[in-house]
Structure formats: C-alpha cells, structure tokens
C-alpha cells in the first residue's frame, strides 16, 4: 500500500508546473496506480504528465484522457454555477467569497486539471440566513456548499479576509475569491482536517505555494491561531516532502521541512489505499441496520493519523498517534449519537 502511495506521489511530482516533465515510468507501474489516480481526483494532472509519452494511447492512459476532457468541460459548467450563485446572493444583498474548487483550479496552468464538485461559498455569519434563503428558493440554483462564516479561517476577522479578497471573472461576472494567503491557509487546513485522503488536496497546496503571486504576504499566511498555523506549516512541509514542492523564498522553510516521520508515511499509505472521502461513504445509519456491512463501514471511518490529530487539536509531533486516533473515534461516536 505504501509503495503504491509512493508511486502516486512520484507520478504527481511537479504535475502542476509549466512546462511539465513527462512521466518516465512503465505501463506496469501506471496500471498499478491508475485507479488510485482516478479516485484521488488527479486524473487530469496525471494525464498532463502522460500525454507526451508512449503510454498516452494505452487503455490506462485513455481513461485518464477521458477524465481530463470531462474536467475541461465541467469547468465551463461549474463556471455557470458560480456565476448564477453570485447573482442570486447579490440580489439578496449578500457578497460571498468563493473558496477551494473553482478558485483552487485557478492555481493550475489549465482549468481542466482539477475536478469540480460543490461551489464552496463563504458568507459572514450575519448574512448566512439571508444567503440560505436566496439559495434554497432559487429555481435555478447551483450545487452550493454554503459556509456560515469562514470555516477554518475563523481565527481571523471577516474585515481583513474581505480586504484581501481577489476578483476573477466567471460566466461574465466578477466573483470574489479569498486572497492568496488566506486561500493557501484554507487549503492547508481543509486538507489536513480530512486527513489528506485525496492526493488532489496536496497538489492544490503545492500549486498554491509555487504559483503564489510575488506580493504574497507570509506574515498574513502565518497569522491566527498558533496551533492552526503550525498545522498549515506542516501541510506546506508535506507538499515539499511528498510532492517535491519548492520552498524557495518561503521564510519558514526550515520549520516546514522538520516533519515527524509518521506524517508523510501516513499520507502515502492513505493514497495507496484510495479510501472514499466523506460524503461518498455509505451512511453509518444504513450500516447499523445491516450488521454484515458494519465492520466495513467502521474500517472506512477509522481516522488516519492526520485527521485524528487535527480532530482532537493535537500537534504534529513525534509522539505515537494511536491515542489521538482512539480519542477521535470517541469524539465522532459521541457526535453521531448526539
């Protein structure tokens, strides 16, 4: 499993760069990890490394190519959703901020390199009720994940977040996204909270790191809850250690490189397993009614070391992770019961 994860990481190394290096592995290696690449949301990035090689025409390469094509088109569909959502919310007097998904795809040289899901919109807590009504009552609503407040960035003020927001054009209208520093921190914290299950999330961090604007304010990135800041630095370190992201000009590069040994191992093991992320799993309530499936449902929910550490607000240090994982299980069980 760890070997497959390592191979996935090698395949993705530098896949966000322009120009990109062609993959030099063989068909056997590609065949071993291709399903993991598809499940991990990195088919487009993998295709980018494969397209100039002899494996592009193989059946494995063909599926990656198809996924890339769909992502190119889905970018257009998603852009319409984004524009529609912004129009609706503005009509209701709410100015949202767009994060992850479409905004993260702008970090790559080509919009088809990343898959799309929900439109992640963040609104001030005071605006949430109005925004929710606007989205629910819209007959042409887009698939929206409406966040009350600024999620993992709620350790900084709404005013400063909005002051650093950036404008993009989607579907012919201006849409507001997080500033580069806030967005990179959000991507780091979100990926860790979900245990870095998908390789895509670490690629987002690597792309955000290497393709950051020259005006990137590292002090701004590091501002906020000290524990979350340490997590964000660890995520940057993981992007470097696992995917070879360059740390040139990163002031806390030395701290980022000092990761406990278990951290990268845990991520690579996860990538080699290809577990479905939250939201694509069988509901726990269903599994409880079918005891035969219960064991599988519990296994797929066993928190990995990364998500357990974040779940119980632990530190990424050298201590064993099992206590964190057990504590996270208890926390989740209590939440489920309540």
């Amino acid at each position: 499993v760890a070997a497959a994860g390592t191979l996935v990481a090698a395949f993705l190394t530098g896949s966000w760069r322009e120009p990109v290096d062609a993959w030099t592995g063989d068909a056997e290696a590609l065949g071993a990890i291709q399903p993991l690449l598809l499940r991990g949301g990195v088919a487009g990035l993998a295709w980018r490394r494969l397209r100039a090689t002899g494996l592009a025409g193989s059946s494995f390469g063909g599926e990656l190519h198809q996924a890339y094509r769909l992502q190119v088109l889905h970018d257009g569909v998603h852009e319409e959703h984004v524009a529609r959502a912004f129009r609706r919310l503005r009509e209701a007097g709410v100015e949202p901020l767009l994060g992850k998904g479409w905004a993260a795809a702008r970090l790559y040289p080509d919009a088809g390199l990343r898959p799309y899901g929900d439109v992640d919109l963040y609104v001030r807590t005071a605006d949430h009720a109005a925004a929710r009504v606007a989205v629910i009552t819209a007959s042409d609503a887009a698939p929206i994940d409406l966040h009350c407040g600024f999620g993992e960035l709620n350790d900084r003020s709404a005013e400063t977040i909005e002051a650093r927001a950036m404008m993009h054009t989607a579907g012919g209208i201006d849409v507001r996204t997080f500033g580069a520093e806030d967005h990179l921190r959000l991507l780091c914290l979100h990926a860790l909270r979900h245990g870095l299950l998908r390789p895509l999330w670490l690629c987002d961090i690597a792309a955000g790191l290497e393709r950051r604007p020259t005006s990137f304010d590292w002090d701004r990135f590091l501002t906020g809850d000290p524990l979350r800041t340490r997590w964000a630095i660890a995520a940057v370190g993981l992007a470097h250690v696992v995917l070879g992201a360059r740390l040139d000009g990163v002031p806390m590069a030395d701290r980022a490189r000092r990761l406990p040994g278990w951290l990268a191992t845990s991520v690579l093991q996860e990538w080699g397993t290809g577990r479905p992320p939250q939201g694509a799993r069988e509901p726990m309530g269903d599994a409880l009614r079918h005891p035969r499936r219960l064991l599988g449902a519990l296994r797929v929910r066993w928190p990995n070391a990364v998500e357990a550490t974040v779940g119980v607000r632990g530190s990424f240090d050298a201590w064993p992770r099992l206590p964190y994982q057990l504590a996270e299980c208890v926390r989740r069980s209590l939440r489920f019961v309540v």
Binding site: P35, L38, R39, G41, A43, E63, Q66, A67, R69, L70, Q71, V72, L73, H74, D75, G76, V77, E80, G112, P115, Y116, G117, D118, R132, V135, I136, D140, A141, A142, P143, I144, D145, L146, P276, Q278, G279, A280, R281, E282, P283, M284, G285, D286, A287, H290, R293
Partner: protein
C-alpha cells in the same frame, strides 16, 4: 447546391483544445470530443456554406485533404450527437456506406466521440438519475453533482431517506 445545416449553439459548452474540440450538451448531459476535421466542419455549419465550399475551407484549415463526401459524413455524425440545429438531409445518389468508404483516409479527423466518465471520476461529471442511481457503495447516493436542469448534488437528507438532488450542504456521511 446543398448547404450545410446550422450548428447548434444554445445550451452547449464548447472548449477548443490544441488537438481537439470538446462540447458538453447541457440538455442531454453528454460530452463529445470532435476531431480536427469534424470541428472544422462544425465551425462552417451556418446554413449558408455549401458542402463543396466547406470541404475546401476545411482542407485549408486542417491540412487534411477533405472532399464533399467527408464533409457529409461529418455532418451526419454531428447530427447524431445533437450538435446541429437543423435536420440533415444528405444529397441523394449514395448510400451512407458509400459515403463512409470514400472518406476512410480522414476517418480519424472525422471522429465525433462520446466522452464517458471512468466510474471512479464520476464526481467530476454529473448524474441524471439521482433517485434511481445505482448505489455505490450500497446505500450511498454518491454526492455526485446532478445534471442540469436538476440542480444540486445527489445526496440524502438523513438516514433512511431517498436520494435527491440537494443544493445545500454536503451529504449525510
């Protein structure tokens, strides 16, 4: 002189890549991939250009020798993919098979392929049958975006409920 039909423009998302053109049909939730010749023919489907004129233009634009027969084969494939506004009536005198035999040399460029999602990347596309979608894993709705005109993601409100296209929040884990 027989003119080419008009290309469909509404409810389509089109992306032109260096080696191919991609089109997404928002009405049918179908993605299509057009080879360079098919894409060039499609661009000349305006209801005014004759097949002979289109053949000359496409030859010039793509560097592939294309004749009138090839243009009509392409138009037929574009029609099957619902990428044309008007109904297609080929000039008489030849069967479809004869047209195809005459155009084998540019067959690759003529291709109008359907793009289908590998199962594992369904999250990158959409489901048009949320309420009856095969459940994978069993019991799950997948959280996959619903195809227009439906909106939202294929999710359930709570345990034991049916899958529906939901616009708010994530899926019940």
């Amino acid at each position: 002189m027989k003119h080419l039909p008009r290309a469909r423009r509404k409810r389509l998302i089109v992306r032109r890549l260096p080696e191919e053109t991609l089109a997404y049909d928002l009405l049918r939730c179908r993605a299509h991939c057009l080879g360079p010749v098919a894409a060039a023919v499609w661009s000349h489907c305006d209801g005014r250009t004759s097949a002979a004129r289109a053949a000359a233009l496409v030859t010039q634009e793509t560097g592939t020798a294309v004749d009138e027969a090839a243009v009509w084969v392409c138009v037929g494939r574009l029609a099957e993919a619902h990428l044309l506004e008007d109904k297609v009536t080929r000039p008489g005198g030849r069967s479809r098979r004869e047209w195809l035999e005459r155009t084998m040399t540019v067959a690759a460029g003529l291709a109008v392929l359907s793009v289908t999602a590998p199962l594992a990347v369904e999250a990158a596309t959409c489901v048009s049958n949320c309420t009856s979608t095969p459940q994978n894993p069993p019991g799950s709705c997948g959280g996959i975006p619903c195809c227009p005109p439906a909106v939202g993601n294929c999710c359930r409100q709570g345990t034991g409920q049916n899958c529906t296209c939901r616009t708010m929040g994530g899926c019940t884990p």
